[in-house]
Amino acid sequence: MAGSSEVLVRLLGVTKSYPQLDHDIRILDDITLDIYRGQYVALLGPSGSGKSTLLRIVTGLTRPSYGTVLYRGEPVTGPHPDAAMVFQTFALYPWLTVQQNVEMGLLGKGVPASERSRRAALLIDLIGLDGYENAFPKELSGGMRQRVGFARALAVDPELLCMDEPFSALDFLTAENLRSELIGWWHDGRLPIQAVLMVTHGIEEAVYMADRIIILSKNPARVIADIANPLPYPRNRKAPAFLELTDHIYQIVTGWDRPAATLWTVPEESAKPTLKPLPQGHLSMLSGLLELVRDRGGVDDLYHLGSELFLEVDDLLPVTETAQLFHLAEVQAGDLKLTALGEEFVAGDIGRRKAIIRSQLKDIPLFQLIDRVLRTKANHSMARDFFLDILEENFSPKEAERQLATAINWGRFAELFHYDTDTELLFLEEDEANQSVQA
């Protein structure tokens, strides 16, 4: 099913931003695309890229700040009755039985009781949960819960099935099993749906299931690639064509945070110097990863590393970005390669490693700011909220919290400054402050 020429959903310049005090923070930027009847579309992007928000805009759960969603030519103004949603967290009502949960979707439509139970029974049969009608979600395994989620969404006879990372809360084997079953139902034509829109951060998952893959960037999300996936079903993960496509997408994706340079030219929005986001990489994971790469001869394929460590590209990327930020490694064509400094870091003891990170932090604007403030203040200490306020100029409040937590974590590791959790103060010890004034 490669899709017909009939447009089911059309997104026109969809933009979403969250208002801050003096400016907005943009999550989605000018997204325009068509989804055709018969397509299985995967929206692929890193976590925090706003792809779930995009899905909620398509279903009418959230409104875009600018732009329009047209469903069969009609603008979407509220939750759309023909688009049903499958949630990452299943979103089953714990106090309702399997049967009642599946009927839930029909309640809102005012379907009479007898018809409700007939349709629910049909779908429970289809998804293989016969015998569990009176069980509560608590009593089911994760995979079975998501089956109920599918049945509930399908019960309302939707045209568009929207799935928000439907497999990411499941363990590996369960997810694999459910993926192949879902694809089977879709291709047998047993599902009463016209198109599927699936949000995912797993590249393999997208290549395995979808016949069209749309890749989004981060901060804000833009469409950076729209790739057709003509591989025949059933797909084999070991097939050379499969691996080739996966590797190709990996290379696009590792440029996720730098779309401006490589893929799009974005005009600078203001002359004001802005703080770049710090990647949320754990320093212990960084050390571990670099040691692993050293043992592999100083260079290794990212995709290979990820699958070996059971890390999605999403979990791996912040760490590699941190490595790049500190000039400890470089990413080239999907490979991670240690730099000379990286070799020194891996060879060094904890003191040497701290020194390297400390010298690298001194080049990062946020740390320069913190350092300058702490040195110039008479008592060499400053409230955490002060820095938080500055960060909130550039990031959403939640992101600002995360940024500051990372900064404090790195700063503590590198002994650049200290932080007291009780008083919420960042500070320098007296001798450190004097030392560096001389230096």
Partner: protein, 563 residues
């Protein structure tokens, strides 16, 4: 003490003033009444009268609870769904829940007798209303909290499947609030017994108010020195409370398990009574009828929703809202006038007296808390750390805790009245009796939550007894201890009102304190003093809550919460 508010802004102050002037209005209404008939129906002390007394008390409690439930549903729903209303409703709630309700006892009693001068209805309604005011706030808060914390994915599912407001309420918001509602209903009933005992029989000067019930029975027995009857009455009370616990609360709690949102399967709590009920054919039949009823309501709500959308724009509600606002403004204007006149008529000396009286009561409250902490912390930690003892002792402590302190008070007064400083001592003991359990249960919970590995580490490093206490046990129990203290302090303030002004064997005994001032001024029709002392008491409690307890709690919570 749950609240989402952290600031203490002008809105709260304004609302506080508003509530104070409303109180002034009620006081005027209450004391204008003359020539009422005192309720002095004789209370029989025969054992045969006990079941009927218990039934009357229970009915009063049930009426107050039904009223609380209805009020909570409406109030919490409005606060959770109407952003404008929320800004006013929640601070009001926050103030009202920290005011010691019993300080209104004299005022409310007189007001209702004024409304129904020739029947027992007034006193009954007054007692029901007082119980209501004692138990409603935590129920409202738990419902409100449940409604605003509905997980986002469940809400989105409701949106996605186009549920209307009614379906959302019955399928999502009410179930999500259910666990908290059941727990708080249980607590409210326990609190209700406390108030019921105090307000079934009350003397203001020479005026005696009596309602047939367990509270009157206990007080009359103590008055006459009939200790056999007193014990029989207490036994009856314990019996009723234990029966309620076994037949209603345990099954309800087990039933409410299914409303927990965590999808982790815990060992299900078992209640034989619940299973018995569930297997009854009658219950099954009722369940089917209930489902049909819901179906019908669903249909009519959907129809009404369509009709409503058609007629919107007529603006009947706007007119009603405007009329209501106008009425409120007029009432407020009169109330302010009244309040100013009352307070302006007060002699200077009264102001200082109210201050000193409040301090005296505060001293008693602190003494009661100190005594409670001194014995409950070691005992609670000992029970909590030792699983075997915890299992064995829990039923006994629960029964002991279930007896409302006010039920014991008449007997206590009879014993201590002739000791010098007796009433002051009795007041402190009453507060301890009423509040120690909150602290004990919280300490037990805290101590039993200390992870095994931390205890092992303490043993491994040979910390010694003193260090183990300062480094492990005290920090670990501190969030729990603070929670217990907050609840206990509220209870202690409430107890002060009944404890400082006692009528016994025809004589009135008082000890210096704000509770006694309130009772005395209402007897003497001293409206200004009554208003001033009630407001001062309320203000003191609210301020202490805000600036001491809540801060302590937040600190303990951030710093010492394990896991």
């Amino acid at each position: 003490m749950t609240s989402t508010q952290t600031g203490w802004g002008w809105r709260e102050v304004g609302l506080g003033v508003f509530l104070a002037v409303l109180l002034a209005l009620v006081i005027r209404l209450a004391t204008r009444v003359h020539g009422f008939h005192p309720e002095s129906g004789a209370i029989s002390l025969s054992l045969a009268a006990l079941p009927e007394d218990a039934l009357w008390s229970w009915l009063r409690m049930a009426a107050a609870y039904a009223l609380s439930l209805a009020f909570s549903l409406v109030y919490a729903y409005e606060a959770a769904h109407n952003a404008k209303a929320e800004k006013i409703l929640i601070p009001i709630l926050d103030i009202l829940q920290s005011i010691p309700v019993l300080s209104f006892l004299p005022v409310v009693l007189l007001a209702f007798i004024g409304l129904f001068p020739h029947s027992r209805l007034g006193v009954n309604l007054a007692s029901i209303l007082l119980i209501f005011t004692g138990q409603v706030w935590n129920m409202v808060f738990s419902l409100y909290h449940g409604m605003i914390t509905v997980p986002q994915d469940l809400q989105e599912a409701a949106d996605n499947f186009q549920m209307n407001r009614w379906q959302r309420f019955r399928l999502l918001e009410l179930p999500h609030s259910m666990v908290g509602l059941v727990w708080n209903s249980m607590m409210s009933w326990a609190g209700g017994w406390f108030f019921l005992m105090a307000c079934e029989m009350f003397a203001l000067g020479s005026r005696q108010f009596r309602l047939q019930g367990l509270g009157s029975y206990l007080q009359t027995a103590a008055n006459k020195g009939q200790w056999g009857a007193e014990l029989a009455g207490l036994g009856m009370l314990v019996l009723v409370i234990v029966a309620m616990d076994q037949l209603i609360w345990r099954p309800l709690l087990a039933w409410a398990e299914k409303f927990k949102v965590e999808l982790i399967e815990a060992p299900p709590s078992h209640s034989a009574v619940l299973v018995f009920w569930r297997r009854l054919r009658l219950v099954h039949w009722l369940g089917t009828a209930w489902a049909h009823g819901l179906e019908a309501v669903d249909r009519s709500v959907a129809a009404a929703g369509r009709a409503w959308r058609r007629t919107r724009g007529l603006g009947i509600w706007d007119v009603v809202r405007w009329l209501f606002t106008a009425a409120m403004v007029i009432a407020l204007y009169h109330a302010i006038q009244e309040a100013v006149r009352l307070v302006a008529g007060l002699p200077r000396g009264d102001l200082a007296m109210v201050g000193w009286a409040t301090l005296a009561t505060l001293g008693r409250v602190l003494a009661a808390l100190a005594i409670s902490v001194i014995w409950t912390v070691p005992v609670g930690v000992w029970i909590g750390l030792d699983r075997r003892w915890a299992g064995r002792l829990t039923p006994f402590t629960q029964i002991a805790a279930s007896v409302p302190a006010t039920a014991l008070f008449p007997g206590l007064v009879a014993l201590l009245l002739h000791v010098s400083g007796g009433l002051s001592l009795a007041a402190v003991i009453l507060m301890v009796l009423g509040t120690q359990w909150y602290i004990l249960f919280n300490v037990i919970a805290g101590a039993s939550a200390i992870p095994e590995d931390l205890k092992e580490a303490a043993r491994l490093f040979r910390l010694g007894r003193r260090r183990t206490w300062t480094l492990l046990i005290l920090p670990a129990i501190s969030p729990y201890l603070t929670t217990g203290l907050i609840t206990a302090a509220g209870g202690a303030w409430n107890a002060s009102i009944v404890a400082e002004y006692v009528s016994f064997q025809g004589h009135v005994y008082t000890t210096f304190g704000v509770g006694a001032l309130i009772a005395e001024s209402s007897v003497n029709n001293n409206d200004g003093l009554l208003l001033l002392s009630t407001v001062t008491l309320a203000l003191t409690v609210v301020v202490i809550n805000r600036f001491v307890w809540r801060r302590l709690y937040r600190r303990a919570e951030q710093r010492y919460r394990l896991g």
